[in-house]
């Protein structure tokens, strides 16, 4: 058992009961800023637990962006699971110690932490005897499904739309029922899909193991080949996001680091980051699913060469990753953000926010609030909604913080009314002048 000077965090592996206990302990220590909930159950009935850290847990505050970390979707890739437990403890401890960075982060963001999307797989992997865990045992869920190949393959659809015309965002809009009735989807996958549809996540990271790199969309190659750089419309911001993680992890961003295994091909790695397709093609992954079905931008972080390293190494992994984990959350406060409302001040939900030159739109949430991550530059941002007149605004975006751009949209019927009034006025004037 490795204990540490970092108070309240013991760096050891947590089985399901211990994971639950650890999250409950965080909640008990910080009940005013945390809340535990579950997104559903695994195939064997374990809860998919999430701990939410925010200044008003349980509430979406209008204008406050939502963030998530998901770990251990491959049950034998264990470091992410543990880091997320340590992170929850760390956030609580630092908040109480008066750490201003953490306090501000928690007050301005709603942070959701799911240490394990595959608790069943983890139990299998953790039960393996001996120091060295198997490369495969515990990877998939209890039904033998690889969760990171189980999501609806929206990349395929997008690639077709790119050629033939069609949207490249929110491709799941009419598919909720199809998802619920799809027998091929694992319960864990379904749980996550509902989660993504229910909460207007803006930024996310998916934690894995087996290598050391921050990976970004698209994961699936366009032509179907094994390795091919497959950029998405937001390639620029994704590179920046991936770098914002890797650059704070000394091992990940070390340019002289040898590959994890002698014959590994890490030629696509740049500054500890890589495009997914350039590294190797992954269809049906959760990362791209986020980007193509919702507003959420997600990257995949590979945290360790060894998938299930010895317990004594966990403290070291925490030290290497804690700054990255915090810094990555902070990236959510970049680009532009604001509210889309009508002329009476009512929020317009599901309005489209489009950026000239980037063929990927986001939408406003139910309070009319939106967040659009962008690298620094000059942009024209347009808000539109059915029945309303679109408005375009010019904005100069710095590295951070996010620039507030609000929109008040006039509805078409309002405009019609105005025009009618104008016409009446003109007729009145004419008739008076000409004496009808």
């Amino acid at each position: 058992m490795a204990l540490s000077a970092e108070e309240g965090i013991s760096f050891e592996y947590h089985r399901y009961a211990e994971l639950r206990e650890a999250l409950v302990a965080v909640w008990l220590q910080c009940p005013a800023i945390s809340r535990i909930y579950t997104v559903g159950r695994s195939a064997e009935g374990r809860e998919l637990l999430v701990i939410e850290i925010s200044d008003r847990p349980g509430e979406h505050e209008p204008g406050e962006p939502e963030f998530k970390y998901v770990g251990n979707m491959h049950g034998n890739e264990a470091v992410g699971r543990e880091l997320l437990i340590f992170l929850a403890q760390y956030l609580c401890n630092e908040y109480q110690k008066g750490n201003d960075t953490i306090i501000n982060l928690i007050h301005s963001t709603r942070i959701h932490i799911m240490p394990s999307l595959n608790p069943d797989g983890f139990e299998k992997a953790a039960s393996q005897p001996g120091e060295l865990k198997d490369w495969f045992v515990g990877r998939s869920n209890a039904q033998g499904i690889d969760l990171n190949r189980n999501f609806p393959d929206l990349d395929r659809i997008v690639y077709v739309n790119e050629k033939e015309g069609g949207p490249n965002n929110h491709l799941l809009k009419n598919m909720k029922k199809a998802v619920d009735q799809n027998p091929k989807l694992a319960p864990e996958t379904k749980g996550v899909i509902h989660w993504i549809m229910d909460i207007p996540f803006v930024l996310s990271a998916n934690l894995h193991g087996g290598d050391l790199v921050a990976n970004y969309p698209y994961d699936e190659t366009r032509t179907g080949s094994a390795h091919e750089y497959s950029s998405c419309p937001d390639d620029a911001i994704f590179q920046s996001l991936a770098r914002s993680y890797s650059s704070f992890n000394p091992a990940m961003s070390d340019p002289n680091r040898p590959p994890c295994r002698k014959n590994d091909d890490d030629s696509s790695f740049v500054d500890g980051t890589t495009n997914g397709g350039a590294w190797y093609s992954v269809p049906g992954g959760m990362q791209d699913f986020n980007y193509l079905s919702s507003n959420c931008f997600e990257i995949t972080v590979e945290l360790s060469c060894e998938k299930f390293p010895p317990e004594e190494t966990l403290k070291g992994y925490w030290e290497d990753n804690k700054n990255s984990l915090i810094n990555y959350i902070e990236q959510i406060h970049r680009g532009v953000k604001g509210f889309v409302k009508d002329l009476q001040g009512n929020p317009i939900a599901n309005a489209t926010i489009s950026v000239e030159g980037i063929s990927h739109d986001v939408t406003s949430a139910k309070d009319g609030d939106y967040w659009r991550l962008l690298v620094p530059g000059n942009y024209k941002v347009t808000a539109s909604a059915p029945g309303y007149l679109a408005i375009t605004k010019k904005v100069a975006v710095p590295f951070s913080p996010a620039v507030v751009v609000d929109f008040e949209l006039e509805s078409l019927s309002e405009r019609k009314e105005e025009e009618k009034e104008e016409l009446m006025e003109w007729w009145k004037m004419m008739s008076e002048t000409l004496n009808f």
Partner: protein, 400 residues
């Protein structure tokens, strides 16, 4: 049946009875004449208490006063009344804890000192013995309704009374500690009068238990040496239950017919519980019992229950906790309670510190406790917490 089984069943029955007992109206009054004869000298202590409480509670309507510090007609209680009421309450609930609750309240209000508390204890013990003895004496009068056997004590009532007026300290102590005193035993033993259901041999002292065929069967099954103590305890409990019912009948709270039917229902319930326990050989009933008891029960009971609940959980769902064995479990649940306690402590410390720095939100412990209780229950519903974990958490907050 296993050793724990019979006791568990009886304890559950007793607990149910105690909880149901609250629904029974309390005895309307006492026989003041007898009582005054016993306490010939008015003690300043009791007067002090009565006066102070009468002053404090003048505005409280009788129905609002849960501790019964007034007569039904609203006049304040005298010293003797108070001692009598306390004794009656202990008798009804068969729980010494009643006395502790009342005394600690008096101590906290500053109405008595510790040495006065000890004196009060003696006096209550005395009255309690009196209640039992009186009841045994009066049983003869009701023998037509119950057909209880004549007791030896009836013939030397006067002698007994004198004995009782100056009970020895050891008797009192042993009584207060829940053991049955000699007087009671004497009235139960001996008699050969067994008109009905004569398959019950008299040397087993089970005369009254003719009303409890199932209970009797349960006792019969406890034959090994290890189970003797348990057998004794069960008999004591049953006897107390019967006395309780008799008391109710004596005070006219229930009719004799109701008394009999109540006893018969009790026996039927024992049969049911026994059957259930046999079908479900786990420790579930034990944990249900702890839930029924008051929160002032010793912590070890709950920890014991926690351990057992964990064991039960493990046997029920081995997939959830592979690689753990029973030996490790109790350590773990202790460790878990400690972890939770530590976390709660940190929160309270932070709140105190935070509050000191003059933040606008006041640190309100009772509000926080309510919130935590609520959340803990919600978490149990959602499968995030076990029931027993939630209880641990509530208990920790309750003790703050």
């Amino acid at each position: 049946m296993g050793p724990g089984l019979g006791l568990a069943v009886a304890l559950q029955v007793l607990a149910l009875l105690a909880s149901r007992g609250h629904g029974f109206p309390k005895p309307a009054g006492t026989d003041k004449a007898i009582h005054n004869r016993q306490l010939s000298v008015e003690r300043p202590l009791e007067e002090q208490i009565a006066e102070a409480e009468a002053d404090k509670n003048r505005k409280i309507a009788p129905t609002d006063d849960p501790d019964g510090l007034h007569q039904l007609d609203g006049t304040p209680l005298t010293a003797e009344d108070i001692v009598q009421k306390i004794a009656a309450r202990i008798y009804e609930e068969n729980d010494r804890g009643v006395f502790d609750k009342i005394v600690s309240k008096l101590l906290n209000l500053g109405l008595i000192t510790e040495s006065q508390a000890y004196t009060l204890e003696d006096e209550v013990a005395e009255v309690l013995q009196q209640l039992i003895a009186n009841d045994a004496k009066n049983r003869e009068k009701e023998s037509e309704d119950f057909d209880y056997p004549a007791s030896r004590a009836d013939s030397d009532t006067k002698e007994k009374q004198q004995e009782r007026m100056t009970p020895s300290k050891s008797d009192q102590d042993s009584f207060i500690n829940g053991e049955v005193d000699d007087t009671l035993d004497n009235t139960w033993s001996s008699s050969n009068v067994l008109e009905r259901r004569n398959e019950l041999p008299s040397e087993d002292n089970f005369e009254d238990l003719q009303y409890f065929p199932n209970f009797y069967a349960l006792l019969k099954s406890l034959n090994s040496e290890t189970e003797t103590k348990e057998k004794e305890t069960l008999i004591t409990i049953m006897k107390t239950l019967i006395d309780f019912v008799k008391m109710m009948v004596k005070y006219g709270t229930i009719t004799p017919e109701e008394g009999v039917s109540y006893l018969e229902n009790l026996d039927a319930m024992i049969a049911e519980q026994t059957k259930k326990k046999l079908e479900n050989p786990s420790t579930k009933t034990r944990t249900k019992l702890t839930a029924d008891k008051s929160s002032e029960e010793a912590d070890s009971t709950k920890e014991e229950a926690a351990k057992m609940e964990k064991e039960y959980e493990f046997s029920k769902d081995s997939t959830k906790n592979e690689g753990q064995n029973a030996a490790g479990i109790s350590e773990e649940s202790r460790g878990k309670s400690e972890a939770y306690l530590e976390a709660i402590r940190k929160n309270i410390e932070w709140l105190k510190k935070h509050n000191k720095q003059g933040n606008k939100e006041d640190y309100d412990l009772s509000k926080l406790r309510d919130f935590i209780d609520q959340q803990a229950d919600a978490y149990v519903d959602k499968g995030i917490l076990d029931k027993e974990e939630a209880d641990v958490i509530k208990r920790i907050y309750g003790s703050l």
